[in-house]
């Protein structure tokens, strides 16, 4: 969000509701940092981030009359952003499957470092980041987003529940399912590593 603390969000929303295009532009500029961070975190493969951010803002304008003020407006827009990203992930019917041979040298070393029982070597951060996203890409969209928020962004169950509209129980179920799948993916990669 813009650092400009003097931004009059309530006044801006009133003007947007009166079809003031300049206010609509200011609103997009004000909220863009929040939206783009979410889009980048949940971005499906081969989808340009700007296109997805545009979809989020167009949904925001379309649904503006439904906003009742029950939650802060930036939070309401964040929820639109998260659900739009999950919908996009769902639209990609096929999820990639990676084999040991598909990993880069750095990713393979990172995998080795974290799976070896006796390794005290810290894995390379960038290679770990790439490998994490390769693994996340193989999860179901909703499960992927839960793990992204829980483990990478370190959000609480309550925060994820609020951002997605899912109950805390459902968030926990999705996290459990995702962790089980991740464990399986690790085991498969190690098996292939050994063969």
């Amino acid at each position: 969000m813009s650092d400009d603390q003097s931004f009059d969000l309530v006044g801006c929303l009133d003007r947007v509701r009166s079809h003031d295009q300049a206010a609509a532009r200011q609103l997009v500029e004000h909220l863009y940092p929040i939206v783009i961070r979410i889009v980048r975190a949940h971005l499906p493969r081969r989808v340009p981030e700007e296109d997805l951010a545009q979809d989020v803002f167009l949904k925001m304008f379309t649904r503006l009359d439904q906003y009742q003020g029950a939650m802060p407006f930036p939070h309401w827009v964040s929820r639109i952003a998260v659900t739009t990203c999950i919908d996009q992930l769902r639209a990609q019917k096929r999820r990639p499957e990676y084999r040991w041979a598909d990993l880069s040298e750095g990713q393979a070393e990172a995998l080795e470092a974290v799976t070896a029982d006796d390794s005290e070597q810290a894995p390379d951060a960038l290679a770990s980041h790439e490998l994490v996203h390769r693994l996340l890409d193989q999860l179901k969209p909703a499960d992927r987003s839960v793990i992204q928020m829980l483990d990478l962004e370190q959000k609480s169950i309550a925060e994820i529940s609020s951002l997605t509209g899912w109950s805390p129980s459902l968030v926990k179920v999705r996290a459990f399912r995702a962790r089980r799948k991740l464990q399986k993916l690790f085991a498969e990669l190690r098996k292939k590593e050994g063969s």
Binding site: V28, I36, Q54, T62, P123, L131, D151, Q154, L182
Partner: protein, 46 residues
Amino acid sequence: MKRSNPAWERLVAAARNVPDERDVQAPFGFATRVAEIGMTSKRMGL
């Protein structure tokens, strides 16, 4: 929440150390374009 995959925990902890230094300001023309489309759709009740 119970966590039982130390390899994943170590991997994700390392991954969190990668800073995201990309610009978060709207690219030039983005807000104008999106506001125009958004307001047109709104006026047309789409």
